[in-house]
Amino acid sequence: MTIKKTFWQKYEAWIWALIFVIIYVWAFSGIPVTGIQAVAGEVTKSILHGLFHPDFSYVYTGDGEDLISLLLQTLAIAFAGTIASALLSIPFAFWAARTKKGGTHLGSSSGKLFLTIVRTFPEIVMAIMFIKAVGPGPFAGVLAVSFHSIGMLGKLFAEAVEEIDRRPAEAIIAAGGTQFDVLIHATIPAVIPEFISLTLYRFEIAVRSASILGLVGAGGIGAPLIFAIGTRWWPRVAIILLGIIVMVTVIDFISGYLRKKLV
């Protein structure tokens, strides 16, 4: 007995492979590979040399423009921005959360669309807009983080609200409580640990973005980094990269530890 494969069994993999290859041939056609500079090798060598000889003198100078001060400033931007954003996100989350069963969801859908727009709006552009408003410096960075994070935190908060157990709320209503009672006694206690955990998670992301906002003049370690790269001052680049790596690692560790303790 011999059995035949069906057409699809036989060719499915090939068809997908073909689609894949076509897409990638198209993609590679758009990227000029000749774009590599002649000096790339040399630059890489200098960078690597710099990376093994970091400019340790920059770590602390005491003038407030050194690595440690600017890393702290970066953390401050991320922290202030995230806390402000967490508070601002709460009303948006309740706007976007779909809490009623059935019916249309005009309210929550418009809220979700709004949050998607905020999330997609480039943080860099937001930073530049805030720089116009309050001038260059870390404050503009705080504002950019605060407002941009609403897009993601609002969405995550809304999902947390949607997922909470509805039974305590029903019990309160059944016992004659008002919607306000539900909010105070059922909803808020249920979502607070979740909100805190999500905020910590967002803080980890904010630390990363705060360390690059300086590229456009919104404070933190980004500005000296881009300056050092521009002037090809590799030992300086190296020490800043190391500083960022250490900072992000430590923050991820602490935040991860706290989040584990919350659940």
């Binding site: 990227i31 774009g35 400033q73 931007i77 709006f121 860099i124 807009m129 116009k132 360390s211 960022i244």
Partner: protein, 262 residues
């Protein structure tokens, strides 16, 4: 007789919560002081902000044709970056998986490298790569490759750690080499996860690649930088709208494909 248990002092006053709130508040105030937060300045400057916003509300539609090519390039960069990154990720993920590699030194080293890579923000990588390979999409592709590599390899080794170990045993017992075990018993089990992560990373890369151009790393971000530099916020608006459309379309397509993979 029943007695109502007395709340301890700490429970009664929610001491722990209060302490934490106080710590967070103190840190918040310190952060605000350090970053020169000034609500007054924000309020007075707010009309400046709104000024830009109003200009953005009147997009310069004639700019649309100029955005098509960079948008396409953005997608191409994201595609290639995701591909390169995820191919490199496969061996690293296998070597980082606890149930495949029992040697803690190898696994520890690999995980250390992966953690290191994930700490680097994408724009920072872009700045470095622009310095190395020059302005252009190549820098963007390299950035996205490294970025996706860090992300996929972590997702992927976590997936590998959840697989059924039975087939591994069966292949080993049949006299397979380590490579054959991975190829025939491990990879088929995580193949779908891999495709799903690939698509997910592609979505993230599309978002990321829309701003890389701000630093000269190719794609639509270049127009962002140009229009902002020329104070042509009406054009910035077009770029932002274009970005938005691309992100939404890619997310939708990719989500649909991922659902089919389930």
């Amino acid at each position: 007789m029943n007695t109502i248990p007395k709340k301890s002092f700490a429970q009664k006053w929610h001491i722990k919560a209060l302490v934490w709130t106080a710590i967070v508040l103190a840190l918040f105030i310190a952060s605000c002081a350090m970053t020169g937060v000034d609500v007054g300045a924000f309020l007075t400057g707010f009309n400046q902000f709104m000024q830009i916003f109003y200009e953005m509300l009147k997009p310069d539609w004639s700019y649309v044709p100029f955005t098509i090519k960079p948008i396409i390039q953005t997608i191409q960069m994201a595609l290639i970056g995701t591909l390169v990154g995820s191919i490199i990720a496969v061996p690293f993920a296998v070597l980082a998986a606890r149930n495949i590699v029992t040697n803690t030194v190898i696994r520890g080293t690999i995980r250390f490298i992966l953690n290191l890579v994930r700490t680097l923000p994408d724009l920072m990588l872009a700045a470095v790569f622009v310095a190395v390979v020059g302005i252009g999409p190549m820098a963007g592709v390299l950035t996205l490759a490294i970025f996706s590599f860090g992300m996929i390899s972590k997702l992927f080794y976590e997936a590998i750690e959840t697989i059924d170990m039975g087939p591994i045993e069966a292949l080993t017992a049949a006299g397979a080499t380590k490579t054959q075990v991975v190829w025939f018993a491990v990879l088929p089990q995580v193949y779908n996860h891999f495709l799903s992560y690939f698509l997910y990373t592609f979505e993230i890369n599309v978002r990321a690649s829309t701003i890389l151009g701000y630093l000269g790393a190719g794609g639509i971000g270049e127009l962002l930088q140009r229009s902002l530099g020329q104070f042509r916020y009406d054009r910035t608006a077009i770029v932002v709208i274009g970005t938005f459309i691309v992100v939404v379309v890619v997310d939708t397509l990719s989500n649909q494909l991922r659902e089919r993979l389930q």
